[in-house]
Amino acid sequence: VSSLAGKRILILEDEPVVAMLVEDMLVDLGCVVVGPASRLDEALLMVECEELDLAVLDINLGREDSFPVAALLQSRSVPFVFATGYGDCATPFPAAPVVAKPYLAHDLYAAMQLAVAAA
């Protein structure tokens, strides 16, 4: 049983197939998935309304990026993990772990544990 079992985790991912993949990985870890949201406004609303323990944010959402969601999460002290197709990219949130796509379930799990530990 993973240490994240029962946690409420927001997924922000604009690619549906990838969103499903992440969702399956989280479910396998025993987490409760919130979303997945595929757009920025949608995600912001969920952060506002939902009780969250953690978030997995795709950085690039087509024309926009997910940094506003990250900022809101930070203001609410909710830890989060970035996922990105860009190589070693630096984000405005240096404390947040970054996993590079494509990633394996244990990569994601390690990053989420790191985020929770740092929070």
């Binding site: 690619e15 197939v17 499903m20 993949l21 399956d24 190589g87 590079a100 494509p102 990633y103």
Partner: protein, 797 residues
């Protein structure tokens, strides 16, 4: 005491001291003659003390003494100072009875003197300068005997006689030294006068010669002393009325300035004339005024001066000529006109040494030019050409009588209308290069001066023509270089050793916004590189470009320059030192390229690669997602899915590596480390080593996938499937071949698999084809060994 001396009527203290000083005896060493005197005095008196005592200013000084052991004593303890106040002998039988001495410290204290007898030393003029005296520590109430008195007086006179003798000897020595110096000086002066190259004569106020030196006699052709007693007019060559005028001028000048300088026309004894540069000075000898004349023959110098002046003017004119042809014509004209010849010119000899080429020459009216080409040998014959080739100046007075110009060549001479000529050859690098010629239609006897002049003109013409040619070439080279530099797209700067700008090409002017004249002689750094992008000052000593000069080596790099308008622009530069012939660094050449466009292009390219990579990664993530959904509900597919995920991850990792290298190449070490990283553990299980090698993108991806397969296989069945198993990945490069070995250790016994899976096929076919080499997998019982061998040539991007 001094007052007492002064009060004596016969002499003053000054006179007395002056008299003493004349003997120059004070503070001189001891002398035997005086020592004998004191020894005799002490002996005759049987006294412990005897002294030859001189009374100086403030002290008494002993020329000789026994029993005192000092050179001098102060006057205030002196007995003799009293003795010299009276004529003759002074005797003090008991000092305690004498009021003058009873309080004297030498009486009251040691050595407790009780007896004194002193005889006066007087100069011939009667001035007392000292005494010869004896002293005793016992009183002598009986006084002294007549014999002692006589002895003391004689000894005092004897001392004085020695003083006189010393002085006489000193005076004689001085006189001797003085006289020999005078004689030496006279001898030296007369030697100087006789050896001088200038003529020197001395005459009295009536113009009668009283002395002539050797050079003067020689110059005028007279025997030694023959001119003495004659009137100076025998020496000058002017007619009487002219002579009168010159004499008046000389006398006037002597009165006003004390001397006359000028040139003088003279007559020798044999009647021939010559010119001198002369200086006449008035001087008084005895009561009478005399004239001293110093002069030298300048006849030869005048000819030389004339030639030098001609050549100097010619050189100036040739230097001003715009091209080599004009230079040679100027020389021909100057020489031809000066010698009154018909034709003069300058011709160059071609490589074969046969053909002379004259561009243009100078000719007198109605004389044809020789401009054109001619075969020298054919025209003038071997004898004349041999002279020229030997470097000898050819002088022909008349070709009909000159044996070198044989009759078979007469037609040449006639065709060019020439009977007589001077031709000066120029030999350089052992070859006849050119000739300077002067032609006359009539026979002519050329003087030595004319030949000398022709030769001198030839020398200068060659120099001038060569120089004009070099300058023309330099101008041409310079024009070409300017064209090259100013059409170059790269900016070029030149700095001198003070790092001041001395040149900028047109591209540099466009780049910086400054014209060359604005930047000229300013420290280049201060003009174009004075600020950092943050606006702060950029000091010269920090600038890497300027280090090219001080550190004396090529420096390359990128910098930000400041445009005249204040904006910054990025540049790539190469700064190289410029060296002179002695390899000393004398400046710096700087090539500069504006790289703003390149930088933009590079940034854009980076952006594209990042975007591409992002999309590829997203695609991989999507493929991963699809695979997951596909396998999700297939029973027993978990293994397949894990294998798929691992392969996908290995592919993504290889992509990451290539993205970091702009998809140009990937370092072998990182490819290996990245591929096996999911299986690395603590403690480390992989031992990776080998020389670095850059792999092309496609090779890197193939190798990464292949290694992933090996690692996966090892983790399932091989060394990595048990605790303590290890894998060694080593490679080296030798003879242009890469040899890489994967060796598993400490794993379970290996069994050869029944079928060849994806991994094995990937390795043995895919990778081998990609590398252009061979891949072999050995399922050895002790551990799997995979050997990869490939030519390095194909592995370089």
């Amino acid at each position: 005491l001094a007052d007492q001396f002064a009060s004596a009527k016969l002499w003053s203290e000054e006179e007395r001291l002056a008299a003493l000083a004349r003997y120059s005896i004070l503070d001189t060493p001891r002398e035997p003659a005086f020592d004998d005197i004191v020894r005799l005095a002490a002996d005759v008196f049987e006294a412990p003390i005897a002294v030859v005592n001189l009374i100086a200013s403030g002290r008494q000084w002993f020329k000789a003494e026994v029993g005192i052991g000092a050179d001098e004593l102060p006057l205030d303890v002196s007995f003799c100072a009293h003795a010299i106040l009276q004529k003759g002998l002074m005797v003090v039988a008991d000092t305690r009875d004498d009021p003058r001495f009873v309080c004297n410290p030498l009486v009251t204290g040691e050595p407790k003197l009780r007896f004194y007898a002193g005889a006066l030393m007087e100069t011939p003029e009667g001035l007392p300068i000292g005494t010869v005296c004896v002293l005793d520590t016992k009183p002598r109430p009986e006084g002294i005997t007549a014999r002692q008195r006589l002895t003391l007086e004689v000894l005092a006179r004897q001392a004085m006689t020695h003083m006189e003798l010393r002085r006489a000897v000193a005076l004689r020595d001085e006189a001797l030294v003085e006289r020999s110096a005078t004689e030496d000086a006279l001898r030296t002066h007369s030697l100087l006068l006789e050896r001088m190259s200038e003529g020197v004569s001395l005459s009295d106020e009536n113009g009668v010669i009283v002395y002539t030196n050797h050079a003067e006699d020689l110059m005028f052709g007279y025997e030694q002393g023959e001119l003495v007693g004659q009137h100076v007019s025998v020496q000058n060559a002017y007619p009487p009325e002219e002579n009168q005028r010159i004499v008046e001028e000389v006398i006037g000048r002597l009165k006003s300035e004390g001397r006359w300088d000028g040139e003088f026309l003279n007559r020798r004894k044999d009647g021939s004339t010559f010119v001198t540069a002369s200086r006449i000075t008035a001087l008084q000898i005895g009561e009478r005024p005399h004239w001293l004349c110093v002069q030298r023959d300048v006849t030869h110098e005048m000819v030389t001066v004339d030639r030098e002046r001609f050549l100097s003017v010619l050189s100036d004119r040739m230097r001003a000529a715009p091209d080599p042809i004009t230079t040679s014509v100027i020389a021909g004209q100057a020489l031809g006109e000066h010698l009154g010849a018909a034709r003069a010119g300058y011709g160059e000899i071609d490589e074969t040494g046969e053909i002379v080429r004259v561009q243009r020459d100078w000719t007198k009216a109605n004389t044809p030019s020789l401009a054109g080409e001619a075969r020298l040998l054919d025209a003038f014959g071997p004898a004349i050409i041999a002279e020229l080739r030997a470097g000898r100046t050819l002088v022909v007075e008349d070709f009909e009588t000159d044996h070198r110009a044989g009759p078979e060549y007469a037609s040449t001479w006639e065709s060019i209308g020439t009977r007589s000529m001077i031709v000066v050859p120029l030999i350089r690098r052992e070859r006849l290069q050119a000739v300077l010629y002067v032609h006359e239609p009539v026979s002519r006897r050329w003087t030595t001066e004319e030949k000398t002049l022709a030769k001198a003109v030839a020398d200068r013409t060659w120099s001038a023509v060569e120089q004009a040619r070099a300058e023309a070439q330099l101008r041409e080279t310079s024009r070409r270089l300017d064209a090259v530099l100013n059409n170059a797209s790269v900016s070029i700067f030149l700095m001198n050793e003070h790092q001041e700008c001395v040149y900028m090409n047109a591209a540099a002017e466009r780049l910086t916004g400054y014209s060359l004249s604005e930047a000229m002689n300013r420290i280049l750094h201060d003009v174009i590189h004075h600020k950092k992008p943050d606006g702060s000052d950029y000091p010269l000593h920090e600038c890497p470009i300027d280090r090219a000069f001080p550190e004396d080596n090529n420096v390359q790099g990128e910098e930000l320059f400041v445009h005249k308008d204040g904006s910054f622009y990025p540049v790539a530069f190469t700064a190289s030192p410029i060296r002179d012939e002695t390899s000393r660094t004398i400046g710096t050449i700087i090539e500069v390229r504006n790289i703003a466009d390149e930088k933009r292009a590079r940034a854009h390219q980076r952006l594209l690669i990042d975007e591409l990579n992002h999309r590829a990664k997203n695609l991989l993530a999507i493929i991963q997602g699809i695979a997951l959904q596909t396998f999700k509900n297939v029973p027993g597919a978990e293994g397949a899915r894990a294998a798929f995920d691992g392969r996908l991850a290995a592919l993504a990792e290889a992509h990451n590596l290539l993205t970091r290298q702009n998809w140009e190449s990937a370092p072998l070490t990182q490819v290996v480390a990245g591929a096996v990283s999911p299986y690395e553990g603590t403690p480390r299980r992989f031992d990776i080593s080998g020389p670095e090698l850059a792999l092309p993108p496609k090779t890197a991806v193939s190798l990464a996938l292949a290694l992933h397969e090996l690692a996966t296989n090892a983790s399932k069945y091989g060394a990595l499937s048990v605790v303590g198993g290890r894998v060694e990945v080593r490679w080296d490069v030798a003879e242009d071949r890469l040899r890489l070995h994967w060796r598993e250790h400490d794993g379970p016994p290996v069994e050869v698999p029944a079928t060849r899976g994806f991994g094995t096929r990937m390795l043995e076919r895919g990778l081998a084809a990609e590398l252009g080499g061979s891949v072999r997998i050995d399922f050895r019982p002790a551990g799997v060994v995979c050997s990869i061998e490939a030519p390095v040539e194909g592995l370089r991007p």
